[in-house]
C-alpha cells in the first residue's frame, strides 16, 4: 500500500487551512464563520446534528459549493478567496484543477458510476483527468482494490455489490487520483449495520498509512478510536474542538453534551 506523501523536510505541515468561511444558500446562512487547520497525517472527525452544515463545509473545500466569504489554503497555497460570493484572488485554472485533485471525496451514497465496472470506476478519472497510461493505472487500480479487499470483484458492475463493497470501491476510486487529503461525508450512514465494519476498517487502515483525513461521521466509537481531533459543529459554527477524549468524554459545551446524549 503506497500513498504518496512528500518526504520533503520543509514541506508545509498544515495540509488544509480554512479562514473565516461563510456560506449562504440564498438568504439562508449555513456556515457562519469557520476557522480550522488540519495537519499532515491528521485525522479529524466532524460530528454534529443534522443540518448543522457539516456536508456544506466539506463540499466547500473541494468547490462542489463555492464559499460566500473566506479563504481556503491547501498545503499553505491559496486555493480560494472570496468575498460576497465573488472570487477575489483568481487562481490559475490548471493549478486550481491540480489542487482540487489533491482532495479526494467519499460520499454518503457512494455515487459509483453504474455504467462502468468496478475497475473502470477506479481508473476513469486518472485516465480522463491525468491522462494516465491505461495499463499502468489498471495495475494500480487492482492494487487499490486489493487493499480494500475487492480485487476479485474488479470486473463486475456496481449494482452487483453490496453497499459496503460499493463504498470501499468509492474509496479506492478516490485514492486512484493520489489525493493528499481525503474527505468523507458520512461514509457509513447509508449502510446496513453489518456492513459498516468493513468500511471503517478500510478507513482505519488509511489513517494508519498516514493519510490526512477529514471525516464527517455519526460513528462516535470510530471517532474516539481513530481521530486525532474531533470537531463538534452546530448551527453553522464550530462549537467545540479537541482530542476525542476532551470532546467526546468530557465535553465542555452544553450543546455538545446534549448532542452526545442523544446519539450515544
Amino acid at each position: 500500500m503506497a500513498i504518496d506523501q512528500p518526504k520533503n523536510k520543509d514541506a508545509v505541515d498544515t495540509m488544509v487551512e480554512v479562514r473565516n468561511i461563510t456560506k449562504y444558500f440564498g438568504d439562508l446562512k449555513v456556515l457562519k464563520g469557520i476557522d480550522f487547520k488540519v495537519k499532515r497525517g491528521e485525522v479529524v472527525c466532524i460530528i454534529g446534528p443534522s443540518g448543522s452544515g457539516k456536508s456544506t463545509m466539506l463540499r466547500c473545500l473541494n468547490q462542489l459549493e463555492r464559499i460566500t466569504d473566506g479563504e481556503i489554503y491547501i498545503e499553505g497555497e491559496l486555493m480560494d478567496q472570496r468575498k460576497n460570493d465573488k472570487t477575489i484572488n483568481h487562481i490559475d485554472a490548471d493549478r486550481l484543477q491540480q489542487l482540487r485533485c489533491d482532495l479526494g471525496m467519499v460520499f454518503q451514497n457512494f455515487n459509483l458510476f453504474p455504467h462502468l465496472n468496478v475497475i473502470e470506476n477506479v481508473t476513469v478519472a486518472p485516465i480522463t483527468v491525468l491522462k494516465a497510461n491505461k495499463e499502468k493505472i489498471t495495475k494500480r487500480g487492482l492494487e487499490l482494490l486489493d487493499m480494500v479487499g475487492l480485487k476479485d470483484r474488479a470486473y463486475e458492475y456496481p449494482v452487483r455489490l453490496s453497499g459496503g463493497q460499493q463504498q470501499r470501491v468509492a474509496i479506492a476510486r478516490a485514492l486512484a487520483m493520489n489525493p493528499k487529503i481525503m474527505l468523507f461525508d458520512e461514509p457509513t450512514s447509508a449502510l446496513d449495520p453489518e456492513l459498516v465494519g468493513d468500511v471503517l476498517a478500510t478507513m482505519r487502515q488509511l489513517a494508519d498509512d498516514g493519510m490526512t483525513m477529514i471525516i464527517v461521521t455519526h460513528e462516535i466509537g470510530f471517532a474516539r478510536e481513530v481521530a486525532d481531533r474531533v470537531i463538534f459543529m452546530d448551527d453553522g459554527v464550530i462549537c467545540e474542538e479537541g482530542t476525542p477524549d476532551e470532546v467526546i468524554n468530557h465535553p465542555k459545551e452544553e450543546r455538545t453534551r446534549s448532542f452526545l446524549k442523544k446519539i450515544l
Binding site: 479526494g104 476513469v124 487520483m177
Partner: protein, 221 residues
C-alpha cells in the same frame, strides 16, 4: 398483382422513405445533443437560442417547415439576389426532417440527462473532472439506455411523417401507391403501402427492444 415496374417503383419509394428517416434521426441525434446541452447550460445565450429552436420547431407543423424550406427559401433568394435557386427536393427533405427531429431529440436527450442523479456529476467533479469531461465520460453514456425507447418512438414517428414529402414532388412509398391506385382504380395498392410501413415499424421496434435489453445489462442484478 404488381407488375415488375410497379414493384420497383414501390421499392424505390420505400427506400426513399427509409433514407429520409435515417438521415433525419442521424442529424437529429447529433444536433439534438448540442441543443440539449444548450438547454441545460448556464450560459444565458446558449440557453435562449436552444429554447427558441425547440419552441419554433415543435410549435409549428412539419408540413409548414417543409413548405418554408422548399417554397419560401427560393422566393426569398430570388428577392434578395435576383437569381433563381433550384432546391433539390431530396436535399430539402433531408434538411427539414433533420431540423425538425433535432428539436424533438433535444427534448428527449435533455430529459434523459436531467434524469441522471446529481450525485453522478458531483462524484465526477470531486474526482477532478471538468464539466465537459464529466458530461462526456459519465453523464451522457448513462443516458443511452434511457434514450433507446424514446429514440425508437421518434424514429417510428419520423418514418410515418416522411409521407409528407409527397407534397414537394418526391415519390415516397405512399405517393407511389396513391398514383397507382388512382390510375388503375384499385385500392389494393394502399394495402401494399400499409404492409411496408408495418414491416418497417416492426423491424424498428424489434431492433430497439433488443438495444434496450443490451444497454440495460449494467442495471440488472
Amino acid at each position: 398483382m404488381l407488375t415488375s415496374t410497379q414493384g420497383w417503383a414501390i421499392f424505390h419509394g420505400s427506400i426513399l422513405t427509409v433514407e429520409i428517416a435515417l438521415v433525419a434521426v442521424f442529424f437529429g441525434v447529433i444536433l439534438g445533443i448540442i441543443v440539449a446541452l444548450g438547454r441545460i447550460s448556464k450560459n444565458k445565450i446558449a440557453n435562449a437560442l436552444s429554447w427558441f429552436y425547440v419552441w419554433f420547431f415543435r410549435g409549428t407543423p412539419l408540413l409548414l417547415q417543409l413548405f418554408m424550406v422548399y417554397f419560401a427559401v427560393p422566393i426569398i433568394y430570388l428577392n434578395v439576389t435576383g437569381s433563381t435557386l433550384v432546391i433539390d427536393p431530396m436535399l430539402c427533405a433531408f434538411v427539414t426532417f433533420s431540423l425538425n427531429s433535432t428539436a424533438y431529440m433535444a427534448e428527449i436527450i435533455r430529459a434523459a440527462i436531467e434524469s441522471i442523479p446529481e450525485g453522478q456529476m458531483e462524484a465526477a467533479k470531486a474526482l477532478g473532472m471538468s464539466y465537459h469531461q464529466a458530461m462526456r465520460k459519465i453523464i451522457i453514456p448513462q443516458t443511452f439506455k434511457r434514450l433507446v425507447a424514446p429514440l425508437g418512438n421518434e424514429l417510428i414517428m419520423l418514418l410515418k411523417d416522411t409521407s409528407l414529402v409527397s407534397t414537394i414532388a418526391l415519390f415516397d412509398v405512399l405517393r407511389t401507391v396513391k398514383t397507382m391506385a388512382s390510375s388503375t382504380g384499385n385500392w389494393v395498392y394502399y394495402l401494399y403501402a400499409a404492409a411496408i410501413y408495418l414491416f418497417l415499424t416492426t423491424v424498428l421496434q424489434v431492433i430497439f427492444d433488443k438495444l434496450e435489453k443490451r444497454f440495460g445489462a449494467y442495471e440488472k442484478r
